[in-house]
Amino acid sequence: MKILVTVKRVSDPEAKLKIKPDGLWIQTEGVKFVVNPFDEIAVEEALRIKEKQTGEVVVVSVGDKVVTEQIRAALAMGADRGIFVNYAGSYDSYDIANILAKIVEQEKPDIIILGKQAVDDDMGQAGFMLAELLGYPQAAFASKVEITDDKKKAKVTREIDGGLEVKEVELPCIITADLRLNTPRYASLPNIMKAKQKPVKELTVESLGVAVKPRVTVKKLSEPPKRKGGVKVESVQDLVSKLKTEAKVI
């Protein structure tokens, strides 16, 4: 079974971010970059499926040279090889879906797993768009994935409002990983050393025949409004009146 997994390089969710003076993106100096946490979950799930079924896990990332660090991190977890699409310009989710569709055509994986969204821009669209472009069935926000015994379908549990939904999709399919799907493993030191030897194929968007034309552009980023301090009320009457007149909740 061949599984393709996407990994996006994102700023560390723990990092304190500042917006660039042009207001279009964040300042990257001194900021640590990591594998998008949802993609890490996707890699872990791919590895677990591979360990049960045998096969190959291929990781793909799009960006400039630095994203190979995130490919290497996935290889250190146990993925078999990487595909690095060298592209330094800006893009939107649809561009990424187009690039991934071309890679799927080349690689013909049985399952494609993506994180449900990247924690930097929170778009959460690439998985759906990719399914549409390929005409593949998709199961988004997976919290459990099982491959049927005949290896022709995936049974995917999804967390929905107030309960769970179980979907069955035919392979090849697209799955997007939600937070509770699994807990990613730590890369062991021997695997980190082995990752150095694993192949990473470099491609360009031109060689894939994709013309990147972002339809969505970032116009402005702003910090969330500063929270105002609370006030202490003197009496219950005060509280009730503030809830009525100021908060307008009763």
Binding site: V34, R72, Y186, S188, L189, I192, K196
Partner: protein, 392 residues
């Protein structure tokens, strides 16, 4: 407890390779997920959480500096960073790894026969077996050459008599690397021996009521007419130089480890100072507190650069024992002073185990003394620069 971020004021990340950064991430995640939830209770109970050891084995931490025999063979800097991350959790955790890797495994790797290496190293690397290292005796700490433990040959056996003190992992170890004189009163006759748990005449007893390194096993080893098979001797060991070479590896790991403890304390004190309001503002807004925090940051940054350079010198084999002495001496000293200053900034809250700084502070008192006291390292360096030995 807040998520550990790691102090990196001079963007030393740029000096690290991809593998070194990945190693740090893996060990940091391990400590966050598996060790931090246990340390407070372990320290209270004076218990080392043995249950985390198999994970450390799977992670490839033990003997990570060794090539082959089931070991990871990471760079010297990755090895150091790993120790830094472990000691950020607790000095007891780093001590466990130092003793297993830098002392027991190094001794077998450097001085053992091929059979001994093939037998023990993969088992120790995977943590299926635990090792310890017995050099210090109750009356011979800084002066190990005076040791009284002897192992005299008797046909196909050596008969060991004596005792070893302050042995980390002593009672939990499956194999003890024990240093003994094969001829009475002759330090040149010092040899290493592999003594397995359960060998007749070999017993261990834990040292209780410690106020430092509570989450670490410290034992006394006793040998009473203990018969050890002839092939348990480490054939390539000879004289005090052999155990001292192992200690140099362990000191290397301590010099890195201490930075981890210092960073944990500094981050805690910085966060606390920004939130703790006295009089009209956070205490971080007072000059005396700022001076302490800035001093900590600058000492941590210097210690990091020292450790990094030490790793590079180890790579090109130019690292000498006195270089390691300086780093061990400096980094542990500043870590201890930082832990004390952090406790001060945390005021009364700092004396409870809801915060980490006093636990680190107490641990670092041991680290300051073990593997060459601060004084001894000073005199090693004194001898090196003046040519005059001042400690005998």
């Amino acid at each position: 407890m807040k998520q550990f971020k790691g102090t990196d004021f001079y963007i030393l990340d740029d000096l690290l390779t991809e593998e070194e950064r990945l190693t740090r991430q893996s060990v940091r995640d391990f400590v966050d997920r598996e060790f931090m939830p246990k340390i407070q209770q372990s320290f209270r109970d004076a218990r080392f959480p043995m249950e985390v050891v198999p994970s450390l084995g799977r992670l490839g931490v033990f003997g990570a500096q060794i090539n082959g025999y089931g070991c990871s063979k990471v760079s010297n800097i990755a090895y150091g960073i790993m120790m830094q991350e472990l000691e950020r959790g607790d000095s007891g955790l780093r001590s466990f790894a130092s003793v297993q890797s830098s002392l027991a495994m190094t001794a077998i790797h450097e001085y053992g026969s091929e059979e001994q290496k093939n037998h023990w190293l993969p088992e120790l690397a995977s943590a299926k077996k635990i090792g310890c290292f017995g050099l210090t005796e109750s009356d011979f700490g800084s002066n190990p050459a005076g040791m009284r433990t002897t192992a005299t040959q008797d046909g196909k056996y050596y008969v060991m008599n004596g005792s070893k003190m302050w042995i980390t992992n002593g009672s939990v170890a499956d194999v003890a690397v024990v240093w003994a004189k094969t001829k009475k009163d002759d330090p040149k006759s010092i040899k290493g021996f592999l003594v397995e748990k359960g060998t007749r005449g070999f017993s261990s007893k834990d040292i209780h009521n410690k106020l430092s390194m509570r989450a670490s096993v410290t034992s006394e080893l006793s040998f009473d007419e203990c018969k050890i098979p002839e092939d348990s001797i480490l054939p390539h060991s000879g004289g005090l130089k052999s155990p001292l070479t192992c200690l140099m590896h362990a000191r290397y790991s301590i010099a890195w480890g201490a930075i981890g403890a210092a960073m944990a304390c500094y981050e805690e004190a910085l966060d606390y100072a920004k939130e703790r309001v006295q009089f009209s503002r956070p205490i971080a807004g007072y000059q005396l507190v700022q001076e302490r925090l800035v001093w900590m940051l600058s000492e941590i940054t210097k210690a990091q650069l020292l450790a990094w350079r030490m790793g590079k010198m180890q790579d090109n084999e130019s690292l000498k024992h006195y270089h390691v002495s300086l780093a061990k001496m400096n980094n542990v000293k500043i870590a201890l002073e930082i832990a004390r200053a952090c406790r001060d900034i945390l005021g009364a809250n700092g004396i409870t185990d809801e915060y980490q700084c006093m636990r680190h502070m107490n641990n670092l008192e041991s680290v300051y003394t073990y593997e060459g006291t601060n004084n001894i390292h000073t005199l090693v360096l004194g001898e090196h620069i003046t040519g005059i030995k001042a400690f005998e």
